[in-house]
Amino acid sequence: MNFNALRAFMVKELRHILRDRQTLTVLLMMPLVQVILFGFALRSDVRNIRLVVIDPTPDHATLDLRNRFGATSTFRIVGTYQSTDSLEPLFRAGRADVALVFDPDFASHLNGSEPARLLIAVDASDPNTGTTYLAYVRTVIQSYQAELNQPGRQVEIVTQTRMRFNPTLESVNLFVPGLIALVLVLVSALMTAISLSREKERGTMEVLLVSPLRPQQIIVGKVLPYLALAFANVITALIAAWAVFHVPFRGSVSLLLAESMLYTLVSLALGVLVAARTSSQRAAMLTAMLATMLPNALLSGMIFPIASMPSWLQPFTYIVPARWFILIARGIMLKGIGLTLLWRETLVLSIMALLLLAAAMRSFKPRLE
């Protein structure tokens, strides 16, 4: 491989990027603007909330309330334990949405004069769904309480809530990972698709193809400079999120950056694939938008929770790269978890990157046809 040619190619790409001042400004400002725009919250409906019950002293009263949760379609009891020890790992691994922790004296207090106590812990790393979960839990408890209340017998159930991972329910905490995903896909897929198809339209692709440059060199030369631009974007988005909205950083920043680059690689490969299969800049741009922006914004769980999508649509979210990246980014930023819990998502993204790069190389023909 002719290294000088590759370096010259990347220098040329960087010049294209740096000289198109308007586009560059838009690209660099985008993370900032989006962090601020997505400061707004979106409400959503949920089903199949995964409920964990911690019941230190099971008896008829706690069983009664548990059954009420189990009987609705909104909740699914995924585990019942006697101690709170098992709760933390379940939340961290993302296997529980809500935990119901009964006070050891719940049943006796319910029949006595003291208020019966109940703790509701919610995974609020997604604050919109977090508050929705809480509202559903409260509804069930309130209706139970209302049924027990007879004239002459007042039952009092006092609930305490813990919003796990995101105690202040900042919706921006939810959106920062999502918008990093969106900005990255936009910069990477859209910009590489445009810049490759621009070569085709200008006729320079014809000269590049006639040159001794191999298709792999052209692809690598196109992709690497945008990887650098995407890196700058992640940094901007993170700084904006931290400085303006005080989004927490519980996990490793370097892991997050590394995962961002992996996700960017997936997007870049998509961009090359789109450009290789379209003939004009406009077609490449529209296809890249359709293939990346929309699914990544709508089907990734960034705006609409996947749990509340129709069941036939949910399988499609598995092929959306942003879905996996958002899980990773939220895990690192809000839960502070590392690769030991995120290896599965990372593996999915790595496989996607490899498959897409292979497909991009295959569809990038060394001739015009």
């Binding site: 002719n2 000088n4 010259a8 294209h16 006729g203 006639v210």
Partner: protein, 316 residues
């Protein structure tokens, strides 16, 4: 000497459109070879086959003794190609464009400077200017420099003078003459007949077929019909009237005059000129002047085109 380019019965179709139809010719080493024909004749497709960008449907070709299908990478580093649109990066400066193409071909400006010097010298005052801010003639010179910087053995130029002013065109052809004398083989396509005269040999191409391959002068001399130049004030009306003339074979606009050819192959041109003048005077063109002339390459081309198979969809 061996042939730099050989094309044997090459055909290429795009869907229903036959872009090249059984084309054969060869270009000798060191020759300045012209492909002359109107837009849509198939010139660009032919260049793309020779530069390994397209694969012919049938037939075979050889470029510098190599097969454009099997030996594409060997051909690519030895050929210089300038596509129809000057393939330059508008946002890069003159020197950045040249540097880039030099690096891509594994060389540097310094190493290739000797060959491009006479052309690039004129661009050097503007070396920091972006390519988009150059005039058509300057762009053409830069594109030629980029195609030459790796010192190719064969230069393929697809309509290099389209959209360039007359002075730059002449300078460009002077440069081609200089490059040819340095031993470079050049294949150049053009829609302009005057440029054809500057080639060693030309192939007339129309509708995907080669009509003639010969010295540019001989192609004109081969014209056997009596040919009359007609001048008058209203060329369009003259054209209409002349076509009514009983023994008219063809009439077409030629610059600011009309060229008229007659069906009577062995008749005397002077007599026909007189007949035509009388006919025109009778039909309200008293000011029309007629004179017998010697046919040029363009007349031959018009004649050959007229006898070529019916134009295909792309020419319509």
């Amino acid at each position: 000497m061996s042939n730099a380019v050989e094309v044997h019965s090459v055909s290429k179709s795009f869907g229903a459109v036959k872009a090249l139809d059984d084309i054969s010719f060869e270009v000798r080493a060191g020759e300045l070879f012209g492909l002359v024909g109107p837009d849509g004749a198939g010139k660009t497709t032919l260049f793309r086959i020779l530069t390994t960008l397209l694969v012919a449907d049938s037939g075979s070709a050889s470029v510098l003794g190599l097969d454009p299908v099997k030996d594409l990478w060997a051909i690519r580093s030895r050929v210089g190609y300038m596509p129809g649109s000057f393939a330059l990066y508008p946002d890069l400066s003159v020197s950045e464009n040249l540097e880039f193409f030099a690096a891509v071909f594994g060389t540097t400006i310094e190493k290739g400077y000797e060959l491009i010097e006479p052309i690039y010298k004129q661009l050097e005052p503007f070396r920091a200017r972006r390519a988009e801010a150059l005039s058509g003639g300057m762009k053409q010179k830069l594109a030629l420099s980029c195609a030459l910087v790796h010192r190719p053995e064969l230069l393929l130029l697809d309509e290099p003078t389209t959209g360039v002013d007359a002075v730059s065109r002449r300078e460009f052809w002077d440069q081609l003459g200089r490059l040819k004398s340095s031993g470079l083989t050049i294949v150049v396509s053009t829609p302009y007949m005057d440029e054809a005269l500057r080639c060693d040999r030309v192939a007339l191409i129309h509708g995907g077929r080669i009509l003639e391959v010969d010295l540019p002068q001989s192609i004109g001399a081969r014209y056997s019909l009596p040919l009359i130049a007609v001048k008058g004030s209203n060329r369009f009306a003259l054209l209409q009237t002349l076509r009514e003339f009983p023994s008219a074979r063809s009439v077409y606009l030629f610059g600011d005059e009309l060229h008229y050819s007659d069906k009577r192959v062995n008749a005397d041109a002077g007599e026909i000129a007189a007949e035509v003048k009388t006919f025109l005077a009778q039909h309200g063109h008293a000011d029309a002047e007629t004179a017998p002339i010697t046919a040029g390459i363009e007349d031959s081309f018009m004649e050959l085109m007229g006898s070529a198979p019916a134009p295909k969809a792309e020419a319509a």
